[in-house]
């Protein structure tokens, strides 16, 4: 059993991380959007492996069903003709990207190795939806309402910012 769990974890980790490298180097931005979909689905799988069933499906609904569609719509609107991808600029940026990545990864790995994760107890795997609902309606009520207002304000602001201004164009 443990063997298959480990195998599944490494498969999902590959599904998460390999598309990231592909986004980094893909020439076509639409391909990058579909690689992002694979990566987000892999994260949803990792959530399921961690016993977060509600969060896993929320990830699929919100990210793959919502944000990714938004990104693809944005691509369709903003790329009327084939945009040149500025290969020279990207070659120039490879070294800064590698340096940033190396510093970030080293810092994070040092922090992970240097911390003792004391009291690590494994939570039992059981359905979480009902308990998350109780939390959202009791001790997380204020963050819940603030998040809903944030979403409303975000959507209204998005419509307002992106609308076409007739008098200017």
């Amino acid at each position: 059993m443990s063997f298959y769990t480990g195998l599944m974890f490494y498969l999902l980790a590959a599904v998460v991380l390999v598309p990231g490298v592909c986004i980094l180097f893909s020439r076509d931005i639409v391909h990058a959007a579909f690689w992002l979909m694979a990566s987000l689905a892999g994260v949803a799988g990792l959530y399921l492996m961690l016993g977060a069933d509600f969060l896993g499906f929320a990830q699929v609904l919100v990210y793959i069903g919502g944000i990714l569609i938004l990104i693809i719509f944005g691509l369709m609107v903003t790329h009327k003709e084939k945009v040149s991808l500025h290969q020279i600029a990207r070659k120039r940026l490879l070294l800064p990207a590698l340096v940033t990545g190396a510093i970030t990864l080293l810092g994070l790995l040092t922090a992970i190795r240097g911390t003792s994760w004391a009291g690590a107890t494994e939570a039992p795997l059981e359905p979480t939806s009902a308990r998350i609902g109780y939390h959202l309606m009791s001790d997380y009520l204020l963050p819940f309402e603030v998040a809903s207002i944030l979403l409303l304000v975000g959507l209204v602001a998005g419509v307002y910012i992106a609308r076409r201004r007739e008098q200017e164009t």
């Binding site: 443990s2 063997f3 769990t5 480990g6 195998l7 974890f9 980790a13 998460v16 991380l17 990231g20 986004i23 980094l24 990058a32 959007a33 990566s39 987000l40 959530y47 016993g51 977060a52 509600f54 969060l55 929320a58 919100v62 990210y63 944000i67 938004l70 990104i71 944005g74 790329h79 945009v83 500025h86 600029a89 990207r90 940026l93 800064p96 990207a97 590698l98 940033t100 990545g101 970030t104 990864l105 994070l108 992970i112 994760w117 690590a120 494994e122 939570a123 979480t128 998350i132 939390h135 963050p143 944030l150 979403l151 975000g154 602001a157 998005g158 419509v159 307002y160 910012i161 992106a162």
Partner: protein, 103 residues
């Protein structure tokens, strides 16, 4: 090696965060930069959920992950609206060309 623990998830999350940072630095298309930001947010949420299972053993980490997803949805909407505006002003979504404030 096949016994999966907290550290495995943290390392995957760290690698994901690194990839997001590299995408933000290297890609010049504004929408690709948005993809990098989604990577960063997902890495953070994955950390929260892993801690929820392996350290605290309750649901607070998962709730934090849920709020990360909600904030990411609002953020993606605003960023795409801004990108559409930049595109209608300068006919390009290259982040290097959007430097009107610098001039």
């Amino acid at each position: 090696m096949f016994e999966i623990g907290l550290t495995h998830y943290l390392v995957v999350s760290a690698a994901m965060f690194t990839l997001g940072m590299m995408i933000i630095v290297m890609r010049r298309n504004a929408i690709a930069v948005l993809m990098g930001i989604e990577f960063l947010l997902n890495a953070a949420a994955l950390n929260f959920v892993a801690f929820s299972r392996y350290v605290t053993g309750d649901l607070h980490g998962q709730l934090a992950g849920l709020f990360v997803i909600a904030v990411a949805a609002a953020e993606a909407t605003i960023i795409l609206a801004i990108i559409l505006n930049i595109y209608s002003h300068m006919d390009s979504v290259n982040v290097d060309e959007a430097d009107l404030l610098k001039q």
